[in-house]
Symmetry: C3
């Protein structure tokens, strides 16, 4: 065994998870995932080193299942992991020396945890092919179940009168079943996937949504949909039912980002990145190809441009003229203020 733990590494974690009847991983929970880098803290590096030695980690990216015998010696290796000693469920350690595409369920789950623990920002790591790696899972009140094994479990539960409720069937679980980062509110757990980055001071209302590899800087009021790859800057407000175009579904290849102190009105939509202090009027869908009439501060009309030409610009108001139907862009001063009552008491 080389002394790889002394080298720079990307991430590691000790997790407990679920397997199907064939012994394949369904999901893994990492209570304290760790990020490395050239200069990890001495505390984290020591834990990494201790675990590496105990489990025979030999460098590179490795997924190592932990035996009952090894579990007993865990506390000696790293006090953080003391509760694992009595685990009745499968335990696994994931060592990632480098940030390459995930090749296994434990690796993929560790990377999703890194996002939701705010250790890596969206687009901050390699998630290539994660859809292929993640199995589809039935998430139930009895834990994760392989969909192929679900019908038998459902019938058994029904006949015995012990209900089996199925909350969702998906590759991505609900974030708050795995981690609730500090200073947030999420009014419906189903609306935020593990792998979302939810910044401190963020409130996600019932109509809000945050996909994996997307997120908010915080504080933010999120009542609309933060699609995959979208980033929302501090102080911005996504109104009820508003849409942001994601890379996966929207066909566009440049991730949408929203700057600071922007407002997307209720039922609006956004297909271009915004700078700071921008407003999109309620009910207006701004696609990248929309032709927009520029209106000066004195009310005079200027030239017409495609919305994508305004990408990333600050201080703009987008609205539809309610008398002639034209999509207009005006300069605005100042910025919206989020309602203090909604954000101060998370």
């Amino acid at each position: 065994m080389s002394n790889k733990a002394m080298d720079p590494w990307f991430a590691f974690g000790l997790g407990v998870g679920s397997k199907n009847a064939q012994g394949a991983w369904l999901e893994v929970f990492f209570p304290a995932p760790q990020i490395g880098g050239d200069l990890p803290s001495s505390h984290v590096a020591a834990e990494h080193d201790a675990l590496a030695k105990l489990l025979g980690y030999s460098g590179g990216n490795q997924v190592i299942e932990v035996t009952a015998e090894q579990l007993k010696t865990l506390p000696l290796a790293a006090k953080t992991y003391q509760p694992f000693v009595d685990s009745s469920r499968p335990v696994v350690a994931v060592f990632l020396a480098s940030d390459v595409a995930p090749e296994s369920v434990p690796e993929a789950y560790l990377k999703l945890h890194l996002l939701s623990h705010r250790l890596v920002q969206p687009h901050g790591q390699n998630l290539t092919g994660i859809f292929k790696v993640l199995p589809n899972v039935a998430w139930t009140n009895l834990g994760a179940i392989d969909p192929a094994e679900l019908p038998a479990a459902q019938l058994k539960a029904r006949l015995s009168g012990a209900p089996l409720t199925v909350r969702m069937v998906d590759k991505f679980p609900q974030m708050i079943d795995y981690v609730v980062p500090s200073g947030i509110r999420i009014a419906d757990g189903a609306r935020v996937r593990l792998g979302a980055y939810v910044g401190s001071g963020t409130t996600v209302m019932q109509e809000g949504f945050i996909n994996f590899n997307a997120g908010t800087e915080g504080p933010n009021m999120i009542e609309g949909r933060v699609s995959s790859s979208v980033w929302v800057g501090a102080g911005s407000d996504l109104g009820g039912g508003c849409s942001t175009m994601g890379i996966l579904s929207g066909g566009n290849s440049t991730p949408i980002s929203i700057g600071k102190n922007c407002l997307l009105g209720a039922n609006s939509g956004l297909g271009i990145p915004l700078g700071d202090d921008c407003t999109v009027e309620s009910g207006l869908y701004l696609t990248a190809a929309s032709k927009v009439r520029l209106v000066a501060r004195d009310g005079s009309d200027g030239r017409t441009v495609k919305a994508r030409e305004l990408a990333g610009r600050s201080g703009l108001l987008f609205r539809r003229n309610s008398l002639n139907g034209a999509l207009e862009c005006l300069p605005i001063k100042g910025s919206i203020e989020l309602n203090a009552d909604l954000h101060d008491h998370n």
Copy 2:
């Protein structure tokens, strides 16, 4: 002890709730909250009086925790509360002589119950500062948990194989975990907060939503969002995904109300109060500042006004002219009829 129970009082309730490890209240469930007034029913007044004497209530607004010794004598005091005798959870009585801003978790929860039990209408009581009073709570299959205590609970549950599922992390719980008022359907419990007033005959579909201190008179079909402070009159239909601007998030200070037999079309939006028999076309967002062209019955165009000038008027149709993009307002006759099949069998 003065005989305050004989005086007019605002409300009282006996509740059972949850506390965190430090003994701070997280939430309280009141199975039979009571409203007072100058002339409460003799039955309710008698219960109030009996509880007041038992618990040493000395007048004013008081939150009194009930001891195990006191619990044993409860049935003698008020038969309604007999099941509390064997409570294994903390029990609390809240006496509100007057309607002032809530200062504790039990007071705030009692007031939210008053709304959802239809004892007080939205805006009918003082909720000032309720965001500050309510703690943020993780709502799980094991009950309410302080977010600070959640990580340890999650790890313990995982290692033991007894899943802990977190449904939401928020200050406001789901109404139907506390009360299901008569004659309603709610297709997704996550979409209606405790403190919503849901009138008899109301159906809230999956895409519907009702915030606290907002509600419906009933019967109503709610497939859109009833924001905080919004009131919807009898027979009105909120189409799928429609938006109503609330006081908290919309910036406007006058609560939106919708009269009787109105229709907000799917994906529409509303920023002004409506009278009776109004229709907002699907997909149209009507903000208070929208300029609207008035169209007479003979099709001739009239003057142009801001939408807010039409606030509260009855019998209006709002639409966007699909050939010239102008927002138009027309007089309409009659009123929509809600589908009988959807409302008759709650």
Copy 3:
């Protein structure tokens, strides 16, 4: 007993369900519902015949509760139903010789199962009056509860510290609590009702929704609302928050269907049937009465028609001209391609 089982029949199923305190059915789960027809498979016909004999089925449409004595002989009658022998819950057999309006809870639930098991397509059977037949039910972590019995159950659970969570109060349960058909993902179980037909390869995202007697051919990406009676053809994509008008709520009497490889943009809406390869621009609501300007490939404007005149046509793009507000329809070539990553790994 006539030998009715030899005759053509519509459907049958053996189910296990819940009753209220008065012994009325609340709901029934059918693990393996069967469809008949003139030439049912010999295997299915044999099961049907064996059950019919065991339970004394005498022809026509019958709902027969199964006694404990009869349960013991079930395995001999049909191996599929062996697990029922030890049922601690009420068991019922439903024999439907013909497809008439359902008159009981078990019949109605069997028909909803037929849809979600993909044995009958939407509009493929008689569901007349199903709203009247289905009782309103509180769906909890302890199973189905009659709303009239809920308050006592809630108080008891609270006092004992064993939480009772209420997920919804509705006539239609969540599909995935009853069946998860193959090859699908559903990101929030609350959004798909039992009675939805969810084709293989369908992903229903958090903002998607599928009502009963509606569905998707698969593969499909569903991030919008498939209203009652709506059918979505293979390869079509419903963008986030988009709306389709259903028969129940929309007032129109012709069900909306969407052909193959169509795209409804985010926050758009549809009030007419579409052929194949059509696109409705994000944010545009196309009602049947909308006047649409036809635009030729060379950009010239043609005549103006009502949208309903374009019902069922293929290869059309609907958009709102962002400079003059006119609703336009243009011919388009080719068809959208759904993102392979999202659909290949269900």
